[in-house]
Symmetry: C2
DNA sequence: TAGATGTTTAGACAAATATCTAATTATATC
DNA sequence: GATATAATTAGATATTTGTCTAAACATCTA
C-alpha cells in the first residue's frame, strides 16, 4: 500500500499511467511525451513497477511497459471502505 | 489532485482517516492514538485539511475533525478512468 | 568486431518531507 | 487577573525525493 501511494504521488507518474491507458509503450516512447531526461523517466518507471502499477517486458533492445490494473483494484477497495454503509474493515 | 495524493502518501495520515471513519474526533483524541508528538499530528491534520479530506470545527478550546468524502469521490473518478470499457477522458 | 541505438545505473545536489522541542495563541476556570 | 488545558506556529534537522549528467550495459546491424 505504501509503494502504491508513493508511486501515485507524482504528476509525471500519473501522466505515464494515463498514457499507458491507451496502449503499452516502450520506455523511449514514454520519455518522448515528457521534457525530462530519459534517466528521470526510467526512474519514474521503476517506481511504478515497484508499486506493480506497470509491468515491463524486454524484447531485444526495447522495454515495453504495460499498465497493470490489479493493484488499482486494491486501492479501489481501500477507498470503498470509507463509503457510508460499507462495513468492510469495520 | 496533487494535494490529495500528497495527503494520502503517508501511513499516519491514512490511519487518521480510518480513525475518523468511525466518528469525528478532536485533535487531542486523534493524537492519543499515535506515538508522535501533538505538533506532528497537528501538521498531518493540516495536510489532510489542505487536501479537503477532513474539515475542522472549533468549539471552545477543542477542534473537531470530520472526514469529508467528497474529495474521495474525485479520486474514485480518477481511478475508474482506468477501468476497461470506461471512456471517460478518452 | 565496431558503431549506433535503447535503456538503466551511479553519483551528485537542491527541494520537499516528517519529525522534534520550545514558544505562542486561544479558551476555560479559579 | 492567574493558571491550566487544547491546539497551533516557529524553527531546527535528518531523511527522502526528483532531477540532472556521465557512464555502463544490452542489443542490433553493417
Amino acid at each position: 500500500m505504501n509503494a502504491l501511494f508513493k508511486a501515485l504521488n507524482d504528476p509525471t507518474r500519473r501522466a505515464i499511467l494515463e498514457l499507458l491507458r491507451q496502449q503499452p509503450r516502450t520506455a523511449g516512447e514514454i520519455a518522448e511525451h515528457f521534457q525530462f531526461s530519459k534517466p528521470t523517466i526510467s526512474h519514474h518507471l521503476d517506481l511504478l513497477r515497484q508499486a506493480e502499477l506497470v509491468t515491463s517486458d524486454k524484447q531485444g533492445q526495447f522495454v515495453t511497459y504495460t499498465l497493470n490494473m490489479t493493484v488499482m483494484d486494491e486501492l479501489l477497495g481501500w477507498l470503498l471502505q470509507f463509503k457510508p454503509g460499507n462495513d468492510t474493515n469495520a
